[in-house]
Amino acid sequence: MSIKFLILISRQGKVRLTKWYTTTTQKTKSKITKDLTTLILSRRAKMCNIVEYQDMKIIYRRYASLFFVIGIDNDDNELMGLEIIHRYVEQMDKAYGKVSELDIIFGFEKAYYVLDELLLDGKVQESSKKEVLKRVLNQDDLEGSEEFDVLIN
């Protein structure tokens, strides 16, 4: 299971977050993003969330106004892909506390941190829900305590 990229697209077609796990030129990146935006926004709710694109499968899932889009290999398990997206959203939900699109826009680095704990170079590194969250919070605490130290000293 290897994820090639993750893109968050808003319902208006705006990119909210991108993460590329393969080295891709800026040109192809924007082409893929553009293609997928039109492709996915044009699909209706009752259609399936798996799309074939180039030589990979695109899995997307809509949460409120945001589409979470990932690209996986053709022979990977699509349902796992859906599950990974769901996991990511769940964990962001907990990390931000009721996550919304605005949260991700303004606190995008946190979205990256959560993602980095869930996936390492496109591979799922942690399937336990608690563990990922724990790590992110731990690191956030570390930031906080560092600053606290600064204040005290």
């Binding site: 299971m1 393969t22 826009i105 303004f106 941190y113 591979k123 942690e126 919070l137 560092e146």
Partner: protein, 995 residues
């Protein structure tokens, strides 16, 4: 405690730099949102300003300001702004001791770092430093960074440090380390060779997520190279049995399907437990993966009844997917069904053909993804019973506006290929099939103007349909007349000429080839003349100087048509058509081989039109068209002269122009009322004229009266009613151009067995032999039968001669088939399913397979490697059995040796040169052989001496040499070419130096 602070706003306020930090980024984001509402220019302006601002902030000494700038740039990177220019600043931010800043640095580095040499040298040190930090959070950051950024050089340098982390006390680090190792393996395969056991050890880790990560790595590697893991199958199997984590199980199943490619015996052991898993689990992803594993590792053979039961069990599981009503599950279920159907086509009818019905339902689904997928297995659904119904189902998709154009092409191809299946074996009746083809043409190529398909799709569909018509007409003689009837409509339709001319290329050919089999209810000859006029009669409209509402739109369009391909086919077709008209005339009105003078004039008139039409291409830019038209023109003009009725033809021409002028005038009067009928009215005119000309062929008396009515002077007065002999050129020579040989269908394989003609460009073309041959042909054309009756010797000679002539297909292969076919035609009096000899079809299939294989083998060569891309291609052909070797060391030592030897060499050369000089001097002085021999011996001796000196001088070096050769030997046995090549080179180098 800290969590409390975290959540409270108090802390945010307390943060001395955090406040400004967040504010600055928020401002940026808010600014972007604000400006994007206004206009794209103001947004671009704002973003440019923001980047300049970031640049300024980067040059500040304050680390926090820098970090903030980097973060902002990382945000802008999402909008497509390149941030690699600030990579060194990112590196600086990474090196901060503050976790918060370091974290930002790594975040940006992962987004932005690529393969920059200078940068990565510095980055390597930073990674090493962080990897060896006492704080595990720092280590984790570094590992994440490495996994994304790793390059070949970096992976070599960092290998050992990451390796150590595999035994870190915290599982958090261990799992990250093993995943990072995978990326190192990809870039530096030697590392996998050396550390293979360490990877396997991690399967016994105490922590589940570490095992999970390890299996992940192993299954990724096994995609490329399953062999090396075969020995650990029992271990994987144990994990599978013990684990309850579906993520892990799915990954092991993936691993199994990779391993099964190299180890076929595993089926027996794992199949039962996979089935067990499948039946017990609730998770659809796992069910799917089980089915996938069973099928992709080809554990089931279609012959075994037990395996069939397993397949049926799988289908039952899939049924649940469809029952759930979830679109994703439907898609997955369809994937699995397709998988099953491909290996068990029999199961199509399983459960009262539930499978077939499901697939058809998916084809009718609105979701294009599902529709497209389901179409892939459409051909499996086809049999004698379902053909008509299912074709109707997918034909509906061609109705304008239902699906995108590209899919329409796929559907057309599906219909055609399913029709041709089993040598057209499933088609219940060909008239039905032809009506389907006709529907396809009207739906895809001739829809209303606003539903018209994209030009390239139209083109592709037209080519496919053309091929299909051609195939049918060649292979199924009984329906040729039906095909011709349909085709003649298309040929006379000016829209086809505009929208999809490629279709006509094949249609013209068919029409020309089988024109004699054209049938028409009213009058076959009339139909032919109608066709002929429609295509050829450009003169009338030109003389009348019409530019719209043409009488012969198609002809005018053809003259100016850009598609050279169809024009090249058109020219011979027209001649064939004319030839057929001539023979119909002689058959219908011939009286003892002669024709009434009036009929001869009509023929000549047609011929004149053809000459005029071909004359339009005399100066065509395309060579082939020019050549063809010119060569026919010469012949046709000759025919025209031989008819010797030029004057009467001139008169007919004037009459015709007059006639159309009148019609045009009448029409204009009518048209004042109804303007929009332009096209139709011109067609009507055509029909009028056709009626007129078709009446010509009916018994003479009645029709001549009519003619008198219309054109009182011309026919009645001037044309005498005598019998004329039609020249041989028209009656005999012309047909022999086309009818000397029958064209049987030849399968691809037998076509391939025809040896390619060997062109001998050096020898004289006009050799005496060739003249002889043309003599024979001449006699052949004039009196066909006598020649054939004559001795077979001549025939054989001729065969021998044309054997290497590129313009002849080898007779020996085609002859027997011709006979067979003729027999068929005679014997089978149109059975509903006319089928060609099965042999041919089977051969065809075989060839396709062969071609496929070729494609597969050729593909990897074509695949270009992206230098930037980190992929697993390094692990291709990777072999563990090769002893760990250190390429670089060998190279280095070889270089060192070489250098040292070179020093020696320089010295030796001087000595040698001196000796050579003496040698050459000796040669000049002494001529006798003996002396030469002596000299040679001396030379040898001296060389030996040199060698011994060398060995004495450099004992240590030699021992090094021998070591090196040992290394070389051990390598040359290894199958990995990547390793062998450089070593061999160094060997060669050293040899060259020694001698």
């Amino acid at each position: 405690m800290s969590i409390q602070f975290q959540s409270s706003n108090v802390l945010a306020r307390l943060k001395p730099f955090g406040l400004s930090f967040e504010k600055s980024l928020t401002d940026l984001i808010k600014g972007i949102r604000q400006h994007s509402k206004e206009s794209s220019e103001s947004l671009a302006q704002f973003l440019d300003n923001a980047i300049v601002e970031c640049k300024n902030e980067l040059s500040s000494n304050d680390m926090e300001t820098k970090a903030m700038a980097v973060l902002k740039l990382a945000y802008l990177e999402m909008y497509g702004f390149d941030m690699s220019w600030c990579n060194f600043h990112i590196l600086e931010v990474m090196s901060s001791n503050k976790f918060q800043i370091k974290r930002v640095g790594y975040l940006a580095a992962i987004q932005s770092f690529k393969n920059e040499k200078d940068l990565l040298i510095l980055a390597t040190n930073q990674f090493k430093k962080d990897l060896n930090s006492h704080d595990h959070v720092h280590i984790g950051l570094a590992l994440s960074g490495i996994a994304t950024i790793v390059t070949p050089n970096l992976s070599k340098d960092i290998n050992d440090d990451v390796l150590m982390k595999l035994n870190h006390t915290k599982p958090y680090i261990r799992k990250k380390a093993i995943l990072a190792m995978y990326k190192i393996f990809l870039q530096y395969p030697e590392s996998l060779r050396m550390n293979f056991t360490k990877v396997i050890e991690k399967l016994d880790d105490d922590d589940n997520s570490v095992i999970n990560a390890t299996i992940n790595v192993i299954s990724e590697i096994s995609k490329k190279n399953p062999k090396i893991f075969v020995n650990y199958l029992p271990k994987f199997f144990r994990i599978l049995e013990e684990s309850k984590n579906n993520w892990l199980i799915i990954r092991i199943l993936k691993l199994f399907s990779c391993l099964s490619k190299v180890e076929s015996r595993m089926k027996k052991k794992i199949l039962p437990s996979i089935i067990d898993l499948m039946v017990k689990t609730q998770a659809s992803s796992l069910i799917y993966e089980c089915i996938n594993c069973i099928l992709s590792s080809s554990m089931l053979s279609p012959d075994s009844s037990r395996d069939r039961e397993v397949a049926e069990l799988c289908v039952e599981q899939i049924e649940k997917f469809f029952e759930a009503g979830d679109p994703n599950l439907r898609y997955m279920g369809l994937l699995a069904l397709i998988n099953i159907v491909e290996s068990f086509p029999v199961l199509i009818k399983f459960k009262g053909s539930w499978v077939a019905n499901t697939i058809i339902l998916c084809i009718t689904n609105d979701d294009l993804i599902i529709k497209r997928k389901a179409l892939e297995v459409y051909q499996y659904l086809i049999n004698d019973d379902t053909m008509v119904d299912y074709t109707r189902v997918i034909l509906k998709n061609l109705i304008p506006g239902s699906v995108p154009d590209t899919l329409k092409y796929d559907i057309v191809v599906k219909i055609l290929s399913s029709g041709a299946m089993n040598n057209y074996g499933h088609i219940p009746s060909f008239s039905w099939y032809l009506s389907v083809l006709k529907d396809i043409v009207t739906l895809t190529l001739l829809p209303n103007a606003n539903d018209i398909l994209a030009p390239e799709i139209r083109e592709k569909i037209a080519v496919e349909l053309g091929k299909e018509f051609k195939n049918l007409s060649i292979r199924i003689p009984s329906i040729r007349s039906d095909i011709l009837a349909i085709i003649s409509e298309f040929i006379m339709n000016p829209r086809i000429l505009d929208d999809c001319p490629s279709l006509l290329k094949d249609l013209y050919w068919i029409m020309g080839e089988y024109i004699d089999q054209l049938e028409d209810e009213e009058s076959t000859l009339g139909k032919k003349i109608q066709l002929f006029n429609c295509l050829v009669n450009v003169r009338v409209d030109r003389v009348l100087e019409l530019n719209d509402k043409l009488n012969f739109e198609v002809a005018r369009k053809l003259v100016n048509h850009e598609n050279t391909e169809i024009l090249t086919v058109l020219i011979p077709f027209l001649v064939k058509l004319f030839s057929s008209i001539v023979s119909d005339y002689t058959n219908a009105y011939g009286e003892q081989g002669q024709l009434r003078h009036k009929k001869v004039v009509e023929l000549a008139f047609d011929l004149d039109k053809l000459v005029y039409f071909l004359g339009c291409f005399e100066n065509h830019l395309h060579y082939e068209i020019q050549e063809r038209s010119l060569s026919w023109l010469e012949f046709l003009k000759l025919c025209f002269e031989s008819l010797d009725v030029a004057e009467e033809v001139k008169k007919m021409e004037i009459e015709e122009v007059e006639y159309y002028k009148n019609i045009g005038d009448e029409d204009e009067d009518e048209d004042e009322g109804e303007d929009d009928e332009g096209e139709e009215s011109s067609e009507e005119e055509q029909e009028d004229y056709i009626e007129l000309s078709s009446e010509d062929e009916e018994p003479k008396e009645t029709e001549s009266e009519e003619q008198v009515d219309e054109n009182p002077q011309s026919f009645a007065v001037e044309i005498p009613d005598t019998l004329d002999t039609v020249p041989m050129l028209l009656t005999h020579v012309l047909p022999t151009f086309f009818k000397s040989y029958d064209l049987p269908p030849i399968s691809k394989s037998s076509q391939k067995s025809i040896p390619p003609p060997e062109f001998d460009l050096d020898s004289e073309i006009n050799s005496p032999k060739f003249e002889l041959f043309s003599d024979v042909e001449d006699s052949d054309t004039e009196e066909e039968e006598p020649v054939e009756v004559k001795e077979e010797v001549k025939k054989e000679e001729r065969l021998e001669r044309i054997k290497y002539d590129p313009y002849y297909i080898n007779d020996t292969t085609s002859k027997p088939k011709t006979k067979k076919k003729k027999e068929k035609v005679e014997s089978t009096e149109i059975p509903e399913k006319k089928v060609k000899p099965k042999k041919i079809k089977k051969e065809k299939v075989l060839i396709l397979d062969v071609e496929d294989e070729e494609v597969v083998t050729a593909a990897p060569v074509k695949k270009k490697k992206n230098l930037l891309m980190i992929d697993s291609s390094n692990l291709d052909n990777f072999d563990l059995s090769v002893e760990t070797s250190t390429e670089d060391d060998i190279d280095l030592s070889a270089l060192r040796n070489a250098l040292e030897k070179e020093k020696v060499e320089v010295k030796e050369k001087k000595v040698k040169k001196a000796k050579k000089k003496s040698k050459s001097k000796g040669k000049e002085a002494k001529d006798t052989k003996q002396d030469k021999d002596k000299e040679a011996k001396e030379g040898k001796e001296s060389k030996e001496k040199e060698n011994s000196k060398e060995t004495e001088d450099k004992e240590g070096q030699e021992s090094q040499d021998s070591k090196e050769t040992e290394a070389v030997n051990s390598h040359s046995s290894s199958p990995s070419p990547g390793v062998v090549v450089p070593v061999k080179k160094s060997k060669k180098k050293s040899r060259a130096i020694i001698h």
